[in-house]
């Protein structure tokens, strides 16, 4: 958990703008079963891709504005931001290998 930062409606925009590394935001909620399934996978990825990627979580229950702004209509949704811009969107829970297959091309 230590590597993963919590975002909210107040710090969301600044966090994605200021991040030097590509920032992967996990839109999730307590009541979403598939979100819980991928939480441990994201922790593993944050450790294994340290230095290439930062991961943040955004609870849509408490930060609905950010979710609305990025038209999140389904969770889990993962959005990868580079230089403040969304470059990739992954909807739905996936296995670790398929997540990495989608993310790795955008990481250096």
């Amino acid at each position: 958990m230590a590597n993963i930062v919590e975002l909210n409606d107040f710090n969301f925009e600044n966090s994605i703008k200021d991040s030097e590394l590509p920032l992967l935001v996990d839109f999730w909620a307590e009541w979403c079963g598939p979100c819980k399934m991928i939480a441990p996978i994201l922790e593993e990825i944050s450790t294994e891709r340290k230095g290439q990627l930062k991961i943040a979580k955004l609870n849509v229950d408490t930060a609905l504005m950010a979710a609305r702004r990025y038209e999140v209509m389904s969770i889990p949704t993962l959005i990868l931001f580079k230089d403040g811009q969304p470059v990739r969107r992954i909807v739905g829970a996936k296995s670790k290998s398929s997540l990495l297959r989608e993310l790795d091309p955008d990481l250096s």
Partner: protein, 328 residues
């Protein structure tokens, strides 16, 4: 917990699938010291995932022993921990290839081209369950997660004060529609017949809900919207007349299909792909047993799946005992 085993592991029992059936089989076989491994599937937002269909439900009111009900994912997490306590282990992967032609059976999980299987097993319990059918429309892939949803409990929240629809006439459709009225302005249930298939109690609840409307004798034939769902075309099943319904969300609950593709051609199935069992949970392949929704399209309840998982575990135990007896 297992990552990916790079050498072949030999097991007395391998359980494929981790819903109520597979995990009950795991509890029983683990308690019988058979150290089962459960190949539990991969995370997904469909019901084809570790924990199975209950992972996408909210409150389970009819599982005996829980007077006030229990949340589906919590129930499955309890099943899982209970089996683990007795020595079951888990492998988070899907079976990519299986060879049931000789014993020990061979099972691959990652690279199906690899010469060596990940597991060899004396006995296999198949409990891969069933997954929800989709509409089979070409716009479907584009709009999943953008108004079209496979998981009401995950996505209902985003449809606050919007008009949405549920397709289907069974218990799952009623359950989803009722759940979705917590958020939505209105929920239209679209059903291809004039009567519902759902149980009396669920029908009564749906009919009594002022936010629920019904669109009878109708099928969804087109989805509209480029980046977000904006509406659907309905075709009347009696007149073939088309009409448009403007909705922002569509939830599909039109039935199930068994997760048996990987076993095709190796084991007897009925015409819909459900595994055929006899004498309890035996299949036509000696040493292969099946339990839960993968062999049951009639009852399809958590409790019946769990019950048949227990049966499969006992059948396996007796079968292994008889085999060891013969060998000794």
């Amino acid at each position: 917990m297992k990552g990916s085993p790079y050498v072949t592991q030999h097991k007395e029992v391998v359980i494929v699938g981790s819903g109520p059936a597979g995990l009950t089989a795991a509890i029983y076989t683990a308690r019988a010291n058979l150290s089962p491994v459960v190949i539990e599937g991969e995370p997904s937002s469909t019901s084809d995932q570790p924990g199975g269909q209950l992972m996408l439900t909210t409150e389970i009111e009819n599982f005996p022993g829980f007077i006030d009900g229990i949340m589906g994912p919590e129930l499955m997490s309890n099943f899982r921990s209970q089996a683990e306590r007795f020595g079951a282990s888990y492998h988070t992967a899907k079976v990519t290839k299986i060879d049931l032609s000789n014993r020990p059976f061979q099972i691959w999980t990652s690279d199906s081209n690899s010469a060596d299987p990940d597991y060899t097993a004396e006995a296999v319990i198949i409990s891969t369950g069933a997954r929800s059918l989709m509409l089979d429309l070409e716009e479907e892939v584009r709009l999943i997660g953008h108004g079209l949803s496979t998981c009401a409990t995950c996505d209902g929240f985003f449809f606050r004060d919007l008009d949405i629809a549920v397709v289907g006439g069974g218990d799952s459709a009623m359950e989803e529609a009722i759940f979705l009225t917590k958020f939505a302005k209105s929920v239209t249930i679209i059903h291809r017949r004039k009567e519902l298939r759902a149980s009396k109690i669920m029908q009564d609840r749906a009919f009594a809900n002022p936010k629920i409307h019904f669109q009878w004798n109708s099928v969804v034939t087109k989805l509209h919207g480029d980046t977000q769902l904006e509406g659907i075309t309905l075709t009347d099943t009696t007149t073939n007349q088309e009409s448009r319904l403007d909705i922002k969300g569509l939830f599909v609950a039109i039935g199930h299909v068994p997760n048996t593709d990987v076993f095709r051609g190796q084991i007897t199935m009925d015409s819909n792909g459900y595994i055929v069992t006899h004498d309890g949970t035996h299949t036509n392949v000696d040493g292969v047993f099946a339990c839960g929704d993968v062999q049951d399209h009639t009852y399809r309840q958590a409790i019946t799946a769990a019950g048949s998982g227990c049966m499969a575990a006992i059948d396996v135990e007796r079968w292994l005992e008889a085999k060891h007896h013969q060998a000794g």
